[in-house]
């Protein structure tokens, strides 16, 4: 399907890659359909683009790219709602934000997006672990060997 977005124009999204949230991110509960779009030039980040609102998109990233000791301890209820059988089927993304007028990049560790990558259903879960903040500063250094193949860099926006 073709999806209109304010940032990327008309994007072709494979129906099989549409992520359906059981309820949208907190504050955006009615926005439930998303696709992932590669962020350029920093490929470790992606856009989570709403298919319901062309202007709504979040920058997201896999927290394991930046943090060594971040554990998502999913409640039984959340695991059940997401129909997760195995931990390997869970893909964790954190919403990225900024503080201090863009000087500091932060990740919301308290409420990650957990995706059942087999069924492509997802939810923003609220962790009970009070070590995790909604705006945890992260350091984005250029990853070693992160150079993207030219072909990839030139590629148009594509759904992950």
């Amino acid at each position: 399907m073709k999806v209109a977005t304010t940032r990327f124009g008309l994007v072709e999204v494979d129906d099989l890659s549409i992520i359906k949230m059981l309820r949208g991110p907190i504050g955006f509960e009615e926005h439930v359909n998303y696709c992932l779009i590669q962020h350029r030039p920093e490929a470790r980040f992606r856009w989570m683009q709403s298919l319901d609102d062309p202007a709504l998109a979040f920058v997201v990233a896999d927290p394991s790219e930046f943090l060594l000791d971040y554990d998502v301890d999913l409640s039984e209820a959340d695991a059940q709602a997401l129909r997760l059988q195995k931990a390997e089927d869970a893909q964790v993304l954190t919403i990225i934000s900024v503080s201090d007028g863009g000087k500091e990049i932060t990740a919301n560790l308290a409420a990650p997006i957990v995706i059942n990558s087999k069924e492509l259903i997802a939810m923003q879960v609220v962790l009970q672990d009070n070590r995790y903040s909604v705006s945890h500063p992260i350091v984005v250094r250029k990853a070693r060997g992160n150079a993207q193949p030219e072909q990839d860099r030139a590629a148009q926006v594509r759904a992950a």
Partner: protein, 75 residues
């Protein structure tokens, strides 16, 4: 809003499967014990408000976030 007075050790029951027990009152702080099925999420309200505010900010400033990520990655 329904307002009920409870003493330490007393509880209220919501529906037939949620119980909220007053464990301790110390100054302006109340400790509550909540017994609810695992399928019922229980969270501190201020955490949900923080998450909502952070989501709103992340969405409203998504372009700033994107630029900051790109700039930092170049360093």
């Amino acid at each position: 809003m329904l307002v009920l007075a409870r003493k330490v050790g007393q509880s209220i029951v919501i529906s037939d499967n949620i119980e909220v027990l007053v464990i301790e009152v110390r100054g302006d702080q109340v400790r509550l014990g909540i017994d609810a099925p695992k399928s019922i999420p229980v969270h501190r309200k201020e955490l949900l408000e923080q998450i909502k505010a952070e989501n709103m900010k992340a969405a409203a400033e998504a372009d700033t976030v994107s630029n900051a990520v790109a700039e930092n990655a170049q360093q």
